[in-house]
């Protein structure tokens, strides 16, 4: 049986006190999710068929956006479900081992890292905050037209150049406001992580995403944090804020070599 199955990892967590696996969960292959324990840690895993999750099959599947969506949601669902039983370290999508023994060996080997990371994120939750703007809200006042004496083509070109500069100004202004919002939110967080703006088609929005950050917030401050998002939305009416979460600490469990990403530098059109 093991010849045709691999072990897909979802998360690492402390061994639950009651020792019961998250029985209600099914994973990326609709398989039941179980725990593999070693070194005082538990890996949340499922057995998945190699014909779908072997190296080549996986590579093919990953090209299929529908498959990817379904599987990514399943991966997340298990991590999220496991997080209800205790703090988890989410594993990157498509972490696969040949069998459970290999998982136990890995848990042994990395025990110190995992333990330290779990301690770092214990009692804390990731919240995502995105900020959208309508570029028109940040445009400079229109200048007087300067077409006089120019040929139509040149005037058009100049006009378009001026528009482009205005866009850059608008983007700068919007980004500055977003930085202010971020600073307020960061005051309630123990750590923050900046993500690049999401793709407009994938995330289905219009305008600019000038804020896309994660905040690691103590559980006791969760309500305060979301209320602060609402307050900031009122204080900055030109920025539409959207909060997502609570998330398992996806953005805060990588080794602490996190690079603080800058706000987008390019000016979206």
């Amino acid at each position: 049986m093991n010849g045709s199955l691999a072990t897909w990892l979802y998360a690492v967590t402390a061994v639950p006190e009651d020792g019961t696996p998250p029985r209600e969960l099914t994973g990326v292959a609709d398989e039941p999710v179980r725990l593999v324990e070693a070194a005082g840690l538990a890996a949340v895993v499922g057995s998945v068929p190699l014909e779908d999750f072997g190296e080549d099959a996986l590579r093919d599947h990953l090209e299929d956006l529908e498959w990817l969506e379904r599987t990514a949601r399943a991966h997340h669902r298990v991590i999220n479900g496991a997080a209800r039983h205790g703090q988890v370290i989410p594993l990157r999508f498509a972490t696969l081992y040949h069998d459970d023994d290999r998982v136990r060996a890995m848990l042994q080997e990395r025990r110190d890292d995992f333990t330290a990371t779990l301690r770092r994120v214990a009692g804390r939750t990731e919240w995502g905050v995105k900020g959208y703007v309508d570029p028109r809200s940040f445009l400079p006042d229109p200048d007087e037209p300067t077409d006089a004496g120019e040929s139509p083509g040149t005037a058009y070109l100049l006009r378009r150049r001026a528009q482009r500069q205005d866009q850059e100004t608008a983007h700068l202004r919007a980004t500055e406001r977003a930085e202010e919002v971020h600073a307020s939110l960061a005051a309630l967080a123990v750590a923050t992580a900046a993500h690049p703006p999401q793709d407009t088609a994938l995330a289905a929005y219009e305008g600019w995403m000038v804020l896309n950050n994660s905040y690691l917030v103590p559980d006791a401050l969760g309500a305060e944090f979301t209320a602060l998002v609402t307050d900031l939305g009122e204080r900055y009416p030109a920025i539409t804020l959207e909060v997502s979460g609570p998330w398992p600490p996806y953005s805060f469990t990588a080794p602490p070599n996190r690079v603080e990403e800058a706000q987008p530098e390019e000016t979206p059109s």
Binding site: P90, G128, G153, Y156, D199, A204, T230
Partner: protein
């Protein structure tokens, strides 16, 4: 949640994300989930190697796939920049006018972005609308 009075931010178009995030509920935006499960989370070299480069390429591919319409729109907006006919000459201005008229027609048809994209893909940057 909050919005200025004169626009409807951020408009959720059909077909992309399933539903907007709800505070306190399980987050369900596909973009949010992909962002996290593909780019975040702890990385361990498992036995079956889908290396990180593959994943990075994958996210690029997804962006290209889903971004194609928007990218086309950008190209449509910037088409004039690449148009050598704008540099000089009355004849070029006539061509420009013709092109603009065509462009306005396309925009009114709501198909401008797509058409410009097709034009660029098929013919590169050149004057394809001489008649």
């Amino acid at each position: 949640m909050n919005q200025s009075s004169d626009w409807n931010p951020p408009v959720r178009r059909t077909g992309a994300a399933r539903e907007p995030d709800r505070r306190g509920a399980e987050p369900s935006s596909l973009a949010d989930i992909l962002e996290r499960v593909l780019d975040k989370g702890i990385v361990i070299a498992g036995d079956i190697q889908i290396n990180l480069l593959d994943i990075e390429l994958l996210t690029i591919k997804i962006r290209l796939l889903v971004a194609s319409v928007d990218r086309a729109k950008e190209m449509g907006i910037d088409w004039w920049e690449h148009d050598p006919s704008l540099s000089s000459g009355a004849r070029d201005v006539l061509e420009e006018n013709e092109r603009l008229r065509r462009r306005v027609g396309e925009l009114e048809d709501g198909r401008g972005a797509r058409r410009e994209d097709d034009d660029h893909e098929d013919h590169g940057v050149e004057r394809e609308d001489e008649r």
